[in-house]
């Protein structure tokens, strides 16, 4: 047996140039077509498989939550939030933990240590500070929606971003993608009060929390649809948070009502990390609580509390 006939690897025939030039197999066109035809027939089921599985597994579209919220003439609401920082002092003057955060935690039974709306203290030039209540920014070009592998986080017709905790697989790429630190994970069994377990879960009301899934502020869509303001808006003692509808161009903080577009323009509203192109639905009017008498160098703020921590004794919590 000479070496020539052994093996079929084309690369080994170095000396014969005619064989080198014919690197690719010389086969008839018919057999190539037949080969590809059979292969395509074999590959087709792979593409058809997911929709078939989807049909077979669904009892109803889990993401649907009912009709979109509409205005009086049937146009779909486009929820927005405008936060007037001139009126936010982090509840320093109240001597309480931030009331927006507290109301949100209580209303949603948000597990400790999730602060779906969180007050960040930002340093200003000159070393003063301002408080920035930061809910989910409900981005129109949401990085979290873009990266989710299973579509568990999704846009609603109202422009809000919600999470379907029944579909979430807990991969946490959305948490890596969010540039505002607004997504929270249930690392263990979520510490929630017993009454939370009685609630009917829906994507618009993330109660009860589910282990191994992601949660965040949802703009209280179930309440907004019925004309009720979200917990944080209602709870703010200074009326710093406005909730509105861009479609109807109106916003309110519970006592004052404004034309949203005019309010934004006249007050030179801005967005957080605008340069990232996430197109948030949350706007800010610059300030440091001066309208409620805060001096820019005032320090100290109460830490947030979760009322049911004692009742969640024994459950593993985690650090933020």
């Amino acid at each position: 047996m000479t070496g020539r006939n052994d093996g079929g690897s084309g690369a080994s025939d170095r000396d014969d140039t005619s064989r080198e030039s014919a690197q690719l197999p010389t086969v008839s066109r018919r057999s190539v077509l037949r080969l590809f035809g059979m292969a395509a027939v074999g590959a087709a089921p792979l593409i058809l498989l997911p929709p078939v599985l989807r049909k077979a597994s669904e009892t109803g579209r889990v993401e649907s939550r009912g009709e979109p919220a509409t205005g009086p003439d049937g146009r779909i609401r486009q929820w927005t939030m405008i936060i007037d920082l001139r009126f936010c002092d982090g509840c320093q003057s109240q001597g309480t933990p931030p009331q927006c955060t507290t109301a949100c935690i209580e209303g949603h039974f948000a597990p400790e240590p999730m602060e779906w709306i969180q007050i960040f203290e930002q340093e200003l030039p000159g070393d003063g500070t301002q408080f920035i209540p930061t809910p989910c920014q409900q981005c129109q070009n949401a990085p979290c929606v873009n990266v989710c592998p299973v579509g568990a986080t999704f846009h609603t017709p109202e422009g809000t971003v919600l999470i379907d905790q029944d579909r979430c697989i807990g991969c946490r790429i959305c948490m890596a993608a969010c540039p505002y630190d607004r997504r929270f994970f249930n690392w263990g069994d979520p510490p929630v009060p017993p009454e939370a377990l009685l609630a009917d879960y829906s994507t618009e009301h993330q109660v009860p929390a589910k282990k191994g899934t992601v949660m965040k502020c949802d703009f209280c869509p179930d309440m907004a649809r019925t004309g009720t303001l979200p917990y944080c808006v209602q709870a703010c003692p200074n009326g710093a948070i406005y909730y509105g509808d861009i479609e109807e161009d109106v916003a309110t903080n519970g006592s004052d009502i404004v034309t949203a577009s005019r309010f934004l323009s006249e007050n030179h509203a801005y967005q957080l990390k605008e340069d990232f192109g996430t197109k948030p639905r949350v706007y800010y009017v610059a300030g440091h609580g001066e309208a409620v008498g805060r001096d820019v160098y005032t320090e100290g703020r109460q830490p947030t509390e979760w009322p049911w921590i004692e009742r969640a004794e024994g459950s593993r919590t985690w650090k933020r």
């Binding site: 059979m38 205005g71 003439d73 779909i76 004309g227 309110t252 034309t259 005019r262 197109k279």
Partner: protein, 196 residues
């Protein structure tokens, strides 16, 4: 006695002043004539023409700032919202323009606050705005480039898997050829045709 006369004199002077001032306000009272816009629909601009004349209707008031308000209601809160401003021209005419975004009956109010008076002059009226089903605010994100889409990924994947399957078919061909070598009597057609 002297103090009583002094007080009385002061009172008279005060009253006169008030009368004079009040009188001058009376004299400067203006007339707001509002010509409301016609058929209004959500999304199309509504123009209201307002003419500001002096009370006797003689002279137009130019350079006056007029503000337009609307009675609005949202999420249980009602109140007035500012809709626009305009300045009257030399004929005392200003056009207040805004784009109504809510359907229904709108209670409108135009206000003029003269510089030397404390009470604003206003005129109110009501106009109805027809609704529309067309969404005015379109949330856009991303760009659409014709042809650059997810189907490219699907096509690449399908191609690669087709090629892999063709490789698998080669293995089957090897197995089939091996069987034929075992049975040299049955000559397959491919053996005759395919080797050349």
């Amino acid at each position: 006695m002297k103090s009583l006369v002094g007080v009385g004199l002061a009172a008279v002077i005060l009253a006169t002043t008030v009368f004079v001032v009040g009188g001058s306000a009376e004299a400067a009272h203006v007339d707001l004539n509002v010509a409301p816009a016609g058929e209004l629909t959500v999304g199309s601009p509504a123009e209201t023409q307002v003419t500001l004349l002096t009370a006797d209707g003689a002279r137009p008031v130019a350079g006056a700032v007029l503000t337009l308000y609307r009675e609005a209601s949202f999420a249980g809160t009602t109140g007035e919202v500012e809709m626009g401003r305009a300045i009257t021209d030399e004929n005392g005419v200003a056009v207040l323009s805004y784009e109504p975004r809510a359907a229904g009956e709108h209670q409108m109010r135009v206000e003029y606050l003269p510089t030397d008076a404390t009470e604003p002059e206003e005129a109110t009226w009501s106009q109805s705005v027809a609704g529309t089903t067309h969404q005015l605010h379109q949330s856009t994100s991303g760009i659409q480039v014709p042809g650059l889409n997810v189907w490219i990924l699907m096509a690449v994947l399908a191609t690669v898997w087709t090629i892999l399957l063709s490789v698998a078919l080669r293995v089957i061909a090897i197995a089939r050829d091996g069987r034929e070598v075992d049975m040299p009597e049955s000559v397959a057609l491919e053996d005759v045709k395919g080797t050349a």
